[in-house]
């Protein structure tokens, strides 16, 4: 028993002392409330193609008319038009076509460049609006829409996906080298690994057997997963099981949200729902909605940010000449929007960004070193957040655009008035025969409440 008091004292001391000790976490704390950053790369649309008529955004100028042949001053021109249900095709979006469409910064070669590639070309002037993209437009109206978000390179998917993960083009040609990308390329995932942060690269319909080594043997579009997930074209990511295990099927995204195992940084690429023309943009929206809804339903919502963007312009018209920051970029603007409880509400962010701005945000958020010159110079997307505001409640975004007009409200006063009047009248009707009308003038009350007597008219007749 003598030991009890000293032990209790020791226990109390320990109870107070240990919680005060600094916890040396294995993972660095983020500099913002964002502990989980998720980014999805869709494909092949420009900002004007998706949001060119979005109210308040830097969209299609009102007097736009694209000459069919800019070299011919007498050429007819095509005004932007609503695509709606018109059939579309996979427009050429090679480096050459980019340069022709840019036409030295005059931005007048969009049809001409495609005609030189045997496309009709006029479709490039088509645009979608809220009727076609209700979910995206509603997202934009609730969260953040970027209207100066440029693709990092003026080529197609390969360069842009590489800029997305490593801030470098990875190769001089816009294609995956036969021997894969250099193992020397440092990716954002290497930085995350070094910092002890978790990450995953989710691939829809993922087939781990398809890599840069096998892609030429694969028939069909599934070989493109190597383009969408460039890690599958970097030998060390394939050969090191510790790295390779981070590339996972998209189903794991849902189970990670459910099981509490969502990594700090999640990259997602689609397969089939990428909106790559001529794919269905509705299918793409549904795909994006399923991802965002899953996040909103999970506890991760409260400290996450979800950014959706598009890898390249896909041959479509955009009216903003991209800044030329180096030999590779920027490319034309692409759609991009941010969903987060800390995202500004209905905000159009006109800061100039590219895919390396995503890397910049990750690096700033977790104090990581830049990967290359491009991301070192990039502007972080932090402006899209308002970390002073309390986190916003999750809210599923409706599919209707424009929002259906409010149903006409009934005039409740009519119901209240008529029912109230009737109840009051009924009360009087009961008070009259019950002779409870003391509050009325005596003469009125007595006259109304006179009981039936033998002298009452008619009573004696029976």
């Amino acid at each position: 028993m003598k030991l009890v008091r000293p032990l209790l004292t020791l226990f109390l001391f320990a109870s107070f002392w240990f919680p005060l000790q600094p916890v040396h976490a294995a993972r660095p704390e983020p500099n913002t409330p964002i502990r989980h950053f998720i980014v999805l790369m869709q494909e092949n649309h420009t900002f004007d193609n998706y949001f060119g008529t979005y109210p308040g955004a830097d969209g299609i100028p009102p007097d736009t008319c694209m000459p069919v042949d800019p070299t011919d001053p007498a050429s007819e021109c095509v005004e932007p038009f609503h695509i709606g249900n018109l059939p579309i095709e996979d427009l050429d979006h090679s480096v050459v076509t980019f340069r022709r469409q840019l036409n030295g910064g005059r931005m007048n070669g969009f049809i001409w460049a495609l005609r030189l590639r045997n496309h009709d070309g006029r479709i490039a002037m088509g645009y979608y609006d809220g009727r076609d993209l209700p979910y995206y437009w509603n997202l934009a109206s609730e969260y953040v829409l970027f209207d100066r978000f440029f693709s990092s390179a003026h080529g197609g998917s390969v360069w842009n996906h590489m800029y997305w993960i490593a801030a470098v083009p990875g190769t001089e040609k816009n294609s995956i080298p036969a021997e894969g990308f250099s193992n020397d390329i440092v990716t954002i995932f290497d930085r995350l690994n070094e910092a002890g942060l978790t990450w995953k690269f989710y691939v829809q319909n993922y087939d781990p057997s398809i890599t840069y080594r096998t892609r030429t043997e694969v028939v069909g579009p599934r070989a493109a997963q190597v383009v969408w997930c460039p890690l599958l074209a970097i030998p060390r990511y394939l050969d090191d099981p510790e790295l390779f295990r981070h590339i996972v099927p998209l189903d794991e995204y849902f189970t990670d949200l459910q099981n509490g195992t969502l990594p700090n940084v999640a990259y997602i690429v689609p397969s089939g729902a990428s909106e790559h023309p001529p794919g269905s943009i509705q299918a793409g929206q549904r795909f994006v909605r399923s991802l965002i809804q899953a996040l909103m339903r999970s506890p991760y919502w409260w400290n996450s940010a979800f950014l959706v963007t598009y890898d390249d312009w896909g041959g479509w018209y955009d009216h903003v000449p991209p800044p030329q920051v180096d030999d590779y970029g920027y490319g034309f603007r692409v759609p991009a929007f941010l969903v987060s409880p800390y995202a500004k509400r209905g905000f159009i962010d006109s800061t100039t960004y590219d895919f390396t701005s995503i890397l910049k945000f990750i690096e700033e958020n977790w104090d990581l070193e830049p990967l290359a010159e491009r991301d070192a110079r990039a502007t972080s997307i932090r402006n899209a957040f308002d970390f002073t505001q309390p986190p916003r409640q999750p809210a599923f975004i409706p599919w209707d655009w424009p929002p259906p007009p409010p149903t006409p409200e009934p005039r409740r006063s009519a119901v209240f008035g008529l029912y109230g009047f009737t109840v009051a009248l009924a009360l009087l009707v009961f008070l009259i025969p019950a002779r409870r009308m003391h509050f009325l003038p005596r003469s009125l009350s007595s006259r109304r409440s006179r009981p039936s007597t033998p002298t009452h008219r008619g009573e004696g007749k029976r």
Partner: protein, 551 residues
């Protein structure tokens, strides 16, 4: 009410009697002048004490754990309408103001809403229903006192107070309980009219019936009961002019609802007429023997037996009183027997008449009241009084036991519409409200659980069993034309299985679970209720299961 008393007043030969009042025994338009004797103490205070006990016991069994379980589907709808009428911002988006029924009950609840708030809306609605229930007991006392004397009135009040059927219905925020009150008030005014032949009572009766119709349109059936009584006893109806005045008052009162609907405008006003068409042609929801099977036990078999016995006993001295009370029971019963839609609470407005007939039998057996004109009370011996009291207590006990038992009953995972609250419903709805994002849409087996989820969860819910064919669905419900597509597109994010709907609609329950499996359903919430298994051991029964789904 104090000017009539069939037992104590002595006949006044100098005053001519109305034809009806001659049948009220010694009831006359005379003031009460009690002359207490030692023998009359029992009669003087007994009925008052019994009535006080009835009110107290009635209040007790109606208020005990009143809000233990959340509201059922119908309650959710009526309370939702009240919220819509009060323009409560969240519920008015989910529940349209105009649905199937008139709005008198929601009107009263809406008046209370600013004081109770949305969170206590279910309790406020139920308390109001209890208030109507207790008022019905008081009105029954008044009718019994007029027709058969104070003892019979008090005994009928006690029977009604403890009757499982009336207790069950008047604990819920349904239209039937308040409607029963207005209908009973109609009966009271009608009896007054019969006794006094004063037009004002007939008008009051007509207005009360009009208020009944404004509560629930089926109250109009009792107009048929009145017509039947007047047809069989022409001496009651008197001259045509008062009848026409009363008819005008009734029509003017009832016209308030269509007038309010017309003036209010807005969306959903056309539903009322659609609902009527649907009710006329819908398929029966219960077997034809539903009422014969379910209602007598809920009324109390002893009460039913006494009522029938009493009618046999008075066969030879049958008067308009018996006709009126029997018509008050038979007409609605016949109507709902023929009507395809059968609901448990639909016949609750007949309970005062049944209680009166049963109490009247006891009154006759033990000379607790007068049964025929000019009768004089026999001198009662103590043993007879004692036996009378014992019988009343025994019958009341036979009512109280099942009433209390059903309040304490554990669910077995099934549920009869209108028979009470839904265990787990409120809790499931509150989970939905707390843990699902705004804008969430849910799919339930049927519209009943959808209503409950909407009421407590504040999220849109659709019933899978709601037919896309407008001829086969309640027009107030929205069907999911292609649930597979909605789920595939992510339009619906949760599916809700519940044991109550599953017991009624096994096909749709299985279909719902198929969707849950197909769209990666993951159980995110389960509501359990404690029950006993077949061997009598306590066990937890899952009654509501919420699945999260995604394409």
């Amino acid at each position: 009410m104090s000017d009539l008393h069939p037992l104590r007043g002595t006949s006044v030969p100098s005053q001519p009697q109305s034809p009806a009042s001659r049948h009220l025994g010694s009831a006359r338009l005379t003031r009460r002048h009690p002359t207490p004797t030692s023998a009359s103490v029992f009669d003087r205070y007994g009925p008052s004490v019994l009535f006080a006990i009835a009110l107290l016991a009635g209040a007790l069994v109606r208020l005990w754990q009143l809000n233990r379980f959340g509201v059922n589907s119908d309650e959710a709808v009526y309370l939702g309408q009240a919220a819509a009428l009060a323009h409560e911002p969240i519920l008015s988006r989910l529940f349209p103001l105009f649905r199937a029924h008139p709005l008198l009950f929601p009107f009263f609840v809406a008046l209370a809403l600013p004081f109770t708030g949305r969170e206590a809306l279910d309790l406020a609605g139920r308390l109001l229903a209890v208030g109507f229930g207790l008022a019905t007991i008081a009105a029954t006392m008044a009718i019994g006192r007029l027709l058969f004397g104070r003892w019979v009135g008090a005994t009928a009040a006690l029977f009604l107070a403890l009757m499982p059927y009336h207790v069950t219905v008047s604990r819920q925020a349904l239209l039937d309980g308040p409607m029963a009150f207005w209908v009973t008030l109609t009966l009271l005014a009608l009896v007054r009219f019969a006794a006094t032949q004063r037009t004002s009572w007939l008008v009051a009766s007509a207005v009360a019936l009009g208020l009944g119709v404004l509560t629930k349109e089926t109250a109009v059936i009792f107009f048929g009961a009145i017509v039947t009584t007047f047809a069989l006893h022409p001496e009651l109806s008197g001259r045509p002019r008062p009848l026409l005045v009363a008819l005008g008052a009734f029509i003017a009162t009832v016209a308030v609802h269509p007038l309010a609907t017309f003036l209010a405008g807005g969306s959903g006003t056309e539903r009322t007429s659609q609902y009527l068409v649907w009710q006329l042609f819908r398929r029966p929801n219960h077997e034809w023997w539903f009422y014969a099977w379910k209602i007598p036990p809920a009324l109390g078999l002893a009460v039913v037996a006494l009522a029938v016995l009493g009618l046999i006993l008075v066969w030879k001295v049958w008067s308009w009183r018996e006709t009126l009370l029997v018509a008050w029971i038979v007409v609605p019963f016949t109507f709902f027997q023929v009507w395809p839609t059968k609901g448990f609470p639909y016949l609750v407005a007949t309970t005062p008449a049944i209680a009166l007939l049963a109490a009247r039998t006891l009154g006759r057996l033990f000379a607790l009241g007068s049964a025929r004109s000019g009768s004089v009370l026999p001198t009662r011996s103590n043993w007879r009084r004692g036996l009378a009291l014992v019988t009343v207590i025994a019958v009341a006990g036979s009512l109280a036991v099942p009433s209390i038992a059903q309040l304490r009953a554990a669910t077995n995972g099934t549920f009869l519409a209108g028979s009470g609250g839904v265990p787990g419903g409120r809790e499931a709805g509150e989970w939905v409200r707390t843990y699902t994002p705004e804008g969430t849409k849910l799919l339930t087996i049927g519209p009943s659980m959808a209503n409950i989820i909407q009421f407590y969860g504040h999220r849109k819910a659709y019933g899978l069993s709601v037919s896309p064919n407008p001829l086969h669905r309640n027009p107030t419900y929205e069907p999911v034309v292609n649930p597979d597509l909605w789920l595939r597109n992510g339009e619906i994010q949760y599916v809700v299985w519940d044991a109550y709907s599953a017991a009624r609609s096994p096909f749709f329950a299985e279909k719902l679970l198929t969707y849950a499996r197909r769209y990666h359903g993951r159980v995110v919430h389960t509501e359990l209720v404690q029950t006993v298994d077949t061997q009598g051991r306590p066990t937890d029964l899952p009654v509501i299961v919420i699945y999260e789904v995604h394409p």
